[in-house]
């Protein structure tokens, strides 16, 4: 079905660009771009313009009392460099996000594999069950973890009641550990679905061919299935890593002082500290760092995959 559409539009594109001027109102591509205009305006007004203004704000100076001087300076970035506390928290956020991404992808892969290859008739139910928790309020799921991990929480009180422990376990809440547990739970669906989609696309005759040529199931997995599913793994990694570095709710509710992340610092600058330019500089710095790390990671993986192929 979709093949048909492509052929159709191909012909349209070819004949369109051959016979009619691009600027003529009847040019099909031109009306296509016109129809995309509302979306582009929405994204420009609500996303790009605010981001540009945020970057500009990061070069302003805070005068205190909510006043700012709008001459462009590097003062805020100098502050970030001078005080090692900021760099430490940015690094911690990146470390936590990397842990979360690794754990989530590792746990999600077998489930995605199971639904793609083992489940035959009940795929719909499995997919529904996987996506349902993701759609429930993120705030409430994080709050639930706070209740579960707390000093007097579900796990500790449960274990004490049964008599396994006498003293509550103190490493559960307000530690980087709690942030990692909560985030890797919250982002599971974002790992499972892309990996499932890329596994589902694999041509089964390739798997049969590998088996016919004498690959055992383990060899076949590492030489055929895993490489072919890498696009899904990469997508999952990017989709989880970038937003979790900047997550606010989880470190705020379960992180404690040791689990604070960069988003909490940024929020403080826009809230209590009331130093918007510094908060903007922190945002820009962390976005840039995350973008660079992600690009390096993706290109490294692509190169590695190209080499083993």
């Amino acid at each position: 079905m979709s093949g048909k559409i492509r052929v159709e539009t191909d012909i349209e594109t070819v004949s369109g660009s051959g016979n009619r001027s691009w600027f003529s109102p009847s040019h099909p591509n031109r009306s296509g771009y016109l129809q995309l205009l509302p979306a582009l305006i929405l994204v420009s007004v609500a996303l790009l313009a605010p981001l540009v203004l945020l970057i500009v704000t990061s070069f302003w100076t805070n005068l205190g009392g909510g006043e700012v001087a709008s001459e462009l300076t590097l003062v805020n970035y100098e502050t970030l460099l001078e005080r090692p506390g900021y760099a430490r928290i940015i690094l911690r956020s990146i470390g936590i996000a990397a842990c979360v991404t690794f754990i989530t992808v590792l746990l999600a892969y077998p489930l995605a594999y199971f639904v793609a290859f083992d489940v035959q008739k009940r795929k719909l139910i499995w997919l529904l069950l996987i996506t349902l928790p993701f759609w429930t309020s993120y705030l409430l799921r994080v709050f639930a973890w706070k209740v579960i991990l707390g000093w007097n929480g579900v796990i500790n009180s449960g274990l004490t009641t049964i008599g396994i422990i006498n003293e509550p376990l103190s490493f559960l809440l307000y530690k980087p550990f709690s942030v990692v547990v909560t985030l890797s739970h919250a982002w599971a669906t974002f790992a499972i679905l892309p990996i499932y989609l890329s596994l589902e696309k694999i041509d089964h005759s390739l798997l049969d061919a590998a088996a016919d040529l004498g690959d055992g199931s383990v060899q076949r997995f590492f030489r055929v299935t895993l490489p072919l599913s890498m696009p899904g793994v990469i997508a999952a990694t990017v989709i989880i890593f970038i937003p979790t570095v900047g997550d606010y709710i989880t470190p705020a509710l379960v992180g404690g002082p040791d689990g604070l992340m960069v988003a909490n610092l940024i929020q403080a600058q826009f809230g209590k500290a009331n130093n918007w330019p510094l908060g903007a500089a922190l945002s820009v710095t962390s976005i840039a760092t995350v973008a660079i790390i992600t690009l390096l990671f993706v290109s490294a993986i692509r190169q590695f995959m190209a080499r083993i192929r």
Binding site: M1, S2, K4, R6, E12, T13, P28, S31, G32, Q35, L36, P38, A39, L42, V43, A46, L47, P50, L53, L54, P110, F114, D118, L124, W126, L128, I130, L132, P133, W135, T136, S137, L140, R141, F143, A144, V147, I148, G150, N152, V154, S157, G158, H185, A188, A211, S217, I239, I242, P243, V245, G246, D247, Y248, I249, A263, Q267, F270, A280, I287
Partner: protein, 269 residues
């Protein structure tokens, strides 16, 4: 032999997947259980059954006000983002446009940008332009994060279209608007309903952007956030949370069923 090993592998995967799925549901099940517990403390052993935390909700007028703003914001957001989704998805599937992929990734960008960044950058704009914080600011932010979901949901629906139906209608002399209304809209209807329900849920549940932009008219999640600081309020926060979860479960299960039923049928045929 290989057959047998395959069976073992499959049972291990089934066991792992079931346990993992159970783990995904534990936090969501904990809240309702303790919302009926007759104690201020959220800990075992359970003290006894009560509905008093739910009764407290009904008499709280600020909850009703927060619920009202949440519903208003979510309704407008769902309508606007689904409408933008429909008009955007059509040219994306109908034409083959140069730069289509980059346009699509730009649309999808708000999914991976941390909500905190979206929230503060909109806050800066509202402040610089001298605009008012409140419902309209929240709606703008929510439309931005819901729009990519609407596009993704609708794309899968629109891609399955048989273009010849549309062409037949145009050939038979129906004007484009009529063709849209009588051919495309009915075919896309399940996708449109799913998009509306899911974007409604996203907006209704969203906390961080609303936290920055809602000012003196808190939405339900922002109100709930305020309650979490007071230990005495925790049980009724649990009750409120359980209600929110129950409602989104029903809405989303229906929307997902509507959406996936269609796409799976297509694969099977």
């Amino acid at each position: 032999m290989i057959q047998q090993r395959g069976h073992v592998g499959r049972s291990i995967r089934l066991m792992f997947s079931s346990l993992y799925l159970l783990y995904l549901y534990i936090p969501i099940l904990i809240l309702p259980i303790f919302s009926f517990n007759d104690s201020f403390y959220i800990s075992f052993p359970l003290r006894g059954f009560t509905t008093q935390w739910y009764a407290e909700l009904v008499v709280d007028t600020s909850i009703i006000a927060a619920l009202k703003s949440s519903v208003q914001i979510a309704l407008v957001t769902a309508l606007v983002s689904t409408f933008f989704g429909v008009i955007t998805v059509r040219p994306l599937t109908r034409y083959r446009l140069r730069g289509e992929r980059s346009i699509l990734s730009m649309i999808m960008l708000p999914i991976i940008i941390p909500e905190l960044i979206l929230g503060i950058s909109l806050l800066v704009v509202v402040n610089e332009m001298g605009l008012m914080l409140g419902k309209w600011a929240v709606i703008t932010g929510h439309t931005l994060i819901c729009f990519p979901f609407a596009v993704a949901i609708l794309l899968s629906r629109f891609e399955g279209f048989d273009v010849s139906l549309e062409e037949a209608s145009l050939d038979l002399g129906e004007p484009p608007w009529q063709t849209f209304w009588r051919i495309i809209f009915p075919l896309a209807f399940p996708g449109i309903v799913a998009s509306f329900l899911l974007t409604f849920t996203i907006s209704f549940d969203e906390f961080l952007i609303a936290f920055f932009l809602s000012a003196s008219e808190p939405t339900l999640p922002v109100y709930l956030w305020g309650q979490l600081r007071f230990p005495k309020k925790l049980p009724s926060a649990l009750a409120l949370g359980s209600l929110i979860i129950a409602v989104s479960f029903v809405v989303v299960a229906f929307a997902e069923w509507l959406r996936r039923r269609q796409s799976l049928q297509k694969v099977n045929i």
